[in-house]
Amino acid sequence: MKPRPLLAIGIGGIVVGSLLPFVWFLITSLKSQGEIEAVPPTWWPSGGFEFYRSALIEHHLLDYVVNSLIVAGGTTLLALLVGTPAAYALARLRLPGKRWLMGGLLCISMFPQIAIAGPVWQILNVLGGLNTHWGLVLPYVTLTLPLAIWILASFFAELPVELEEAAQIDGCSPWTAMWRIMLPLATPGIFTAAILVFIYAWNEFFFALLILTQPEKQTLPVGIALFQGEFTMPWGELAAASVLATLPLVLLVILFQRWIVSGLSAGAVKG
């Protein structure tokens, strides 16, 4: 293949641009306290995991990670459980008002969080869901359902109709058809939706800030946003915490890049 300078520049730009801030935080997290406070900043850290130790032990970072895992995992499971049949019905079955439902879903994804935050808070207050993880999972499921249904429906719509027709003739109900035939075929779609929902729930900040007020329940974004030392700005610990918060996502992206790309583009292709 002949060398393509423009492409090389593009690739270089994407890689450097995307990774640069992350790398700077990585470098920062490996510095010593003296190097953190050096002006001008040093380029290379002397190495050392002091800030990781401090972030993990003194700032209880692991608790935040566990909370985030519970919330993001719970959200993903519930969103799929609820979203899959809905997507199947919307993609495959005759349903009066289908357009309205899809339009409504789109509308929901437009609503600013602050506008629904107050009432959501009140509902959770009545249900006893404040400062609980499920109390955060419920609004997250609501907010991610449009995306999940969107992706799943477009995957279902891709699958050939003939299979189900065959199943119907054999006397299968739509439930069985969905469960036995469509689900296995739609695994890539489900997987993609799961990753996207997970990432959303892992990253969401506003509701988490409002609903979880006890530090031992809080998720990573809240922990990191409110990360402030008692007396000084602990940049080293913050960098270490951010690297640790980001690492799972970096892994997720590297492992499942293909699925994410196809999932995000699912709506666009048919749109």
Binding site: R4, G10, I11, I14, S18, L19, P21, F22, F25, A38, V39, P40, P41, W43, P85, A86, A89, L90, A91, L93, R94, L95, R99, G104, C107, M110, F111, P112, I114, A115, I116, G118, V120, I123, L138, T142, I149, A157, E165, M178, F205, P221, I224, A225, S242, A245, T246, L249, V250, V253, I254, Q257, I260, V261, S265, G267, A268, V269, K270, G271
Partner: protein, 306 residues
């Protein structure tokens, strides 16, 4: 997506019942945690309720809050600022997104890794990204100053202390965070453009630029509009960036609508007025989306795309 395909053999009634049963859980959760709060908010925005002044009571005042809002210069500035933010960031994001998509669409060794790298900004929490950029533009320890001025410490610039720069940096951070998302939507659009179109154009002697301008761009239109739609909806609700990086300052330079609404509603306790602000954010997004949807076509709503 397609909703047209349907299974013929089944009695229509039974199919409908099953379909509703399948949709029901999703519908229930949405009604409880989205529709009810939305309606509640709409109602609240028509009331006068100010927690610090209980004597004002809690009364229905019609559109009073919205009339006040229309005359509130801070809200007007915040609205224009938000609009500016949305405009700059979405245009840059989609523009960069096209570039990213064109690169990622090419075949080269290690493409998977490059795609993964491009996805990282999109995948990490906005809060983390905000802290990263805040640190990079720090007045003393920032990478920006180090790269620009090396060890000439005296020239180090406090970026976020300048109203103009603070606004630019917020846009910059948003573009960095989401250009790759726009890029992926565009990439999807690129992938459905048949190669023979390009081959034909090549035979006609069109150069790369002409091929891009006359084939790629027009065929990308739906994907571009979709990217614009998603980005506009999201950019209008910018909050995390401002919360972490500037708290609206300096001198209100980064006071966006969503943050103004948050402060009015949650800090000042002006429930009616604050809700009216957030409802206006919604209305603005909604009307913009309608414009886009008209441009994209109703296929988005799953009527019959094929």
């Amino acid at each position: 997506m397609s909703g047209g395909a349907s299974i013929g053999q089944m009695p229509e009634n039974r199919e409908r019942v099953t379909a509703w049963a399948m949709v029901m859980p999703a519908l229930a959760i949405t009604l409880a945690f989205a529709l009810y709060p939305v309606v509640q908010s709409l109602l609240l925005s028509l009331r006068r309720q100010f927690l610090g002044v209980p004597a004002l009571g809690d009364t229905f005042v019609g559109l009073e809050n919205f009339l006040l809002l229309a005359q509130d210069p801070v809200a007007r500035d915040a609205f224009l600022r938000t609009l500016g933010f949305v405009l700059c960031s979405t245009i840059l994001e989609v523009g960069l997104g096209i570039g990213i998509a064109l690169v990622l669409h090419e075949h080269f060794r290690g493409r998977g890794w490059v795609r993964a790298a491009a996805l990282i900004p999109w995948a990490i929490p906005t809060v983390v990204a905000s802290q990263m950029w805040r640190y990079i533009f720090n007045d003393q320890f920032g990478l920006a100053n180090l790269v620009l001025y090396g060890d000439e410490v005296a020239r180090y610039h406090p970026w976020l202390a300048s109203p103009t720069w603070a606004f630019v940096i917020i846009i910059f951070a948003d573009v960095w965070k989401t250009a790759s998302f726009a890029g992926l939507l565009v990439l999807a659009g690129l992938q459905v453009i048949p190669d023979d179109l390009y081959d034909a154009a090549k035979i006609d002697g069109a150069n790369a630029w002409q091929r891009f301008w006359h084939i790629t761009l027009p065929l990308l239109k739906p994907a571009l509009l979709l990217a614009l739609l998603f980005r506009t909806m999201d950019a209008f609700r910018v909050f995390d960036l401002v919360f972490v990086m500037t708290q609206g300052g300096p001198g209100d330079a980064t006071q966006v609508l969503q943050f103004y609404g948050y402060k009015t509603l949650f800090t000042e306790g002006r429930i009616g007025y604050g809700t009216a602000i957030s409802v206006s954010v919604f209305l603005a997004i909604f009307s913009l989306s309608l414009v886009y949807l008209r441009l994209v076509g109703s296929g988005l709503l799953g009527k019959d795309a094929r």
